[in-house]
């Protein structure tokens, strides 16, 4: 087996691609400089009474940017498509592209369906009108699909924990020594300092993020909404007290909190579990109040929905907090145990995020509660919780959705920080933070173990930020 080069037999495209990239950089620079010093397009009145926009340096620069960008995109796409067809013939890039075929398939399907039906899809459909939102959505969905398919073992070429002899710190494209039949014959992005496959660890790491970040953010939102709505709606002493608590947590340097919470000694005292008891109860409370406030006057429907929703949530909740051989161990119906380290990571991320959500929801509720429809509901004699959850909450969904996207990105960064300091998550875990931490020790000699997870984390968070930006733009438009 020969070692793979980056682009294999497609190497002839590379110089063209480089030129296109340079052109793109140059045109962007010109575009920016020109737009600082010129005032933009001019309206010109034509002789026949029509108006047109005069072409000027700025418009020309913008055209240049567009053309250069199209060239770069087309060439990049060429690498991927040719890679899909040619596989390892097209070098490392091609091999990776081939390896990721489920992701491409899912992305193409999702995008063609969404664009086809975009007028019927509300805010989600409008996302496809904004280029920034679309770029962000592509990046996010790329990692989502990669993570999901990696978890189904469709993408990773090797076991992320397996060590192969002679592959320690080997450069990308090194053939696996003594590869058996059925085994992938190369380490596509090289081996790390324990001779594990960097590519497989990176795609598996996507799943690690997907497992924790959205769920932790969701829990933080439940906590923030359940406490923020009454704080904003009632105001007064309750607000003062809750805001004081939120400020208390916010004034705490995050990293210190992690170091205090995520140590084996603290896990042994059961403190994270007790925090979990409190924090994980909020979704239950939220759903219960949500249903009860709606169907309060129809007892039959009320009981039905409460049982239907709260039953499973309660079982999940009890399985979550109940772990064998820990401080909380009394519940017989325990479906799964969460390892102490993972639980404490989850709890501390939720704990750190919820005060910020609380403050946002509180501010929004204070703003909305002076609206006429709230006054109308009050006059109708609706109960406070109905007003909060069914009148105020649906009307603040826009900012909350935007913040949700941003916060998932932020949670990803936090999880990475935890991994970077080796806190909580198991040391072998392929999550990006731990991998960056492993790779940084030999960074001046071997770049390849640390860079792929770093770039992956950056692109995912960037995607989430752009997606949030696009959503904000589109939701402000209507």
């Amino acid at each position: 087996m020969d070692p793979l080069t980056w682009t294999g037999s497609l190497a002839f495209i590379t110089p063209i691609f480089m030129i296109a990239l340079l052109l793109l950089a140059a045109t962007i620079a010109i575009w920016v400089v020109v737009s600082i010093f010129s005032a933009g397009t001019r309206h010109v009145a034509n002789a026949d009474g029509t108006m047109s926009l005069a072409g000027n340096p700025q418009a020309m620069a913008a055209l240049g940017v567009r053309l250069a960008f199209l060239a770069v995109a087309a060439l990049g796409l060429a690498y991927l498509v040719m890679g899909l067809i040619m596989g390892t013939e097209a070098g490392i890039v091609g091999a990776m592209s081939r390896q990721m075929w489920p992701t491409w398939l899912a992305l193409v399907t999702l995008f063609s369906l969404s664009i086809l039906f975009k007028r019927r899809l509300g805010l989600y459909g409008k996302l496809f009108d904004s280029p920034i939102g679309m770029v962000g959505f592509t990046l996010v969905m790329f990692w989502v699909f990669t993570g999901v398919f990696a978890a189904m073992d469709l993408i990773a070429t090797h076991d992320p924990l397996a060590q192969a002899s002679g592959m320690k710190n080997k450069v990308p494209g090194t053939p696996l020594r003594g590869a058996e039949a059925g085994e992938y014959a190369w380490y596509l992005l090289g081996g790390d300092n324990l001779a594990r496959d960097v590519f497989s660890r990176m795609v598996k790491g996507a799943w690690e993020v997907l497992k924790y970040a959205p769920l932790a953010t969701l829990f933080a939102f439940m906590v923030g909404i359940t406490l923020g709505l009454p704080a904003g709606y009632y105001g007064g002493k309750l607000d003062t007290f809750l805001s004081f608590l939120a400020n208390l947590i916010l004034a705490f340097p995050v990293i210190l909190l992690f170091y205090l919470l995520v140590t084996p000694e603290i896990v042994a005292t059961g403190l994270p579990q007790f925090m979990a008891v409190v924090l994980f109860a909020f979704p239950m409370v939220f759903c219960g109040v949500l249903i009860h406030s709606r169907f309060r006057t129809q007892p039959a429907k009320n009981t039905f929905w409460l049982l239907l929703v709260l039953g499973p949530i309660f079982l999940l909740y009890m399985s979550l907090i109940n772990a064998q051989g820990s401080k909380i161990d009394f519940w017989p119906l325990d479906f799964f145990d969460i390892p102490g380290g993972v639980l404490v990571v989850f709890v501390s991320v939720v704990f750190v995020n919820s005060p910020t959500v609380f403050r946002i929801v509180r501010g929004l509720a204070m703003d909305i509660k002076t609206r006429d429809y709230v006054a109308a509901a009050q006059t109708r004699g609706e109960r406070p919780w109905y007003i909060m959850l069914w009148e105020i909450l649906p009307n603040v969904r826009g900012p909350l959705i935007v913040d949700f996207c941003l916060r998932i990105g932020y949670t990803t960064i936090l999880l990475g920080t935890l991994g970077f300091f080796g806190l909580g998550l198991p040391p072998e875990s392929p999550d990006w933070g731990s991998t960056i931490n492993d790779g940084r020790k030999l960074l001046s000699i071997y770049l390849h173990p640390a860079l792929p997870p770093a770039v992956a984390l950056m692109s995912l968070v960037l995607g989430l930020n752009l997606l949030a930006d696009g959503l904000r733009e589109e939701s402000l438009r209507d």
Partner: protein
């Protein structure tokens, strides 16, 4: 105004007390103390031996009493044994007369920060030198971050939707999406490694503690500054675009004031009120970055000591670090509140 500052300071002191108490409880939980006893005494201590060691060294008292003593509002414990009198405010075992001479209170309020088991010196000494190092780092971070963030924000916000705006906004989104441990790793890889071959900077900042030069100090500063910069720039941009749509700007334009004059003389002052608060509230996050960057570049400052203290169960040092960081965060919050009132004429008059 005076009343407001007084009330804010009161709340701040209560917050500081609550937070330090929480940290105190968490660092003084029994498993931590047990570990301390075993590292200080010997590793094969039985449970009874641990309990008696803790009792002998004053850790057996109720939590609130211990907290009061550490704070310096409750008299330090004293204990009479065969070897003499030992106590919180006494070094080693001394006779009863000398013990009577010793100060009664010795907590952080009296300036007694305790003894670090990791560095084997007084905590106050460590805090002083480490905080000095970090202060120097932070000074350069602020010098780099604040002006560039403001310039980017103002340039992007003065013409909303223009090419400058879109490219600079994308740039600031990119920097906020790149946490320090990612940008730091990329910088080290690109600018210091022999693989890429640029070798413009040094990958560690250890030598920067004695002799900071551009070569060994720029990368850590840039890494911290970049992450905070995007956020401040976006806030500046938002506030600038808001100001640029105000009525008085339109009036100025109609009067024929030139565009640079409008931006510099009319818009800038009002647009900078909001970023001021944001910059002040960035401090808790900067601390986060400091810890990451100092361990990444091996710069032995405040954040590095935090990591050392936390991973070596150095209770007194960890407590001192928490106190300092909590106080820094709360002080910046107070300054931002007061500064906001001073800067914003609408609030100042009412």
């Amino acid at each position: 105004m005076g009343l407001f500052i007084l009330r804010r300071s009161g709340v701040m002191i209560i917050t500081a007390l609550c937070l330090t108490f929480i940290v105190f409880v968490m660092t003084n939980l029994y498993p931590n103390l047990e570990k301390l006893a075993k590292t200080e005494g010997n590793f094969r201590m039985s449970d009874e031996a641990v309990a008696s060691w803790l009792d002998k060294n004053g850790y057996g008292q109720p939590m609130l009493v211990k907290y009061g003593q550490w704070l310096g509002v409750v008299p330090g414990w004293q204990r009479l044994s065969d070897e003499g009198v030992t106590g919180r405010c006494i070094d080693g075992a001394v006779s009863e007369d000398e013990a009577a001479q010793a100060p009664r209170f010795c907590g952080i309020l009296q300036g007694d920060w305790g003894y670090s088991t990791r560095f084997k010196t007084d905590v106050s000494e460590i805090i002083q030198t480490r905080l000095g190092n970090t202060g120097y780092l932070m000074m350069w971070v602020l010098i780099l971050m604040v002006p560039s963030a403001l310039i980017i924000g103002v340039l992007a916000g003065m013409r909303e939707g223009s090419a400058t705006d879109r490219s600079l906004s994308t740039l600031s989104i990119m920097t906020t999406a790149t946490p320090e441990y990612v940008s730091g790793v990329i910088f080290i890889a690109v600018f210091t490694s022999s693989t890429v071959g640029l070798k413009w900077f040094k990958g560690t900042a250890t030598s920067a503690m004695e002799n900071p030069t551009f070569e060994n100090f720029f990368l850590p500063v840039l890494t911290i500054a970049l992450y905070g910069m995007g956020y401040i720039a976006r806030m500046t941009r938002a506030s600038m675009t808001e100001v640029m749509t105000a009525q008085y700007i339109r009036t100025a334009r109609l009067k024929g004031v030139s565009f640079p004059n409008i931006v510099l003389k009319h818009a800038l002052r009002n647009a900078l009120i909001a970023p001021f608060t944001v910059i002040m509230l960035q401090f808790p996050w900067l601390l986060n970055g400091v810890v990451i960057v100092e361990s990444l570049f091996n710069y032995k400052g405040f954040g590095w000591s935090l990591v050392e203290a936390a991973s070596n169960n150095d209770i007194e040092l960890l407590l001192a670090i928490s106190v300092v960081s909590v106080v820094v965060v709360l002080l910046t919050q107070l300054i931002s509140d007061i500064g906001y009132i001073f800067l914003n004429p609408r609030i100042r008059i009412s």
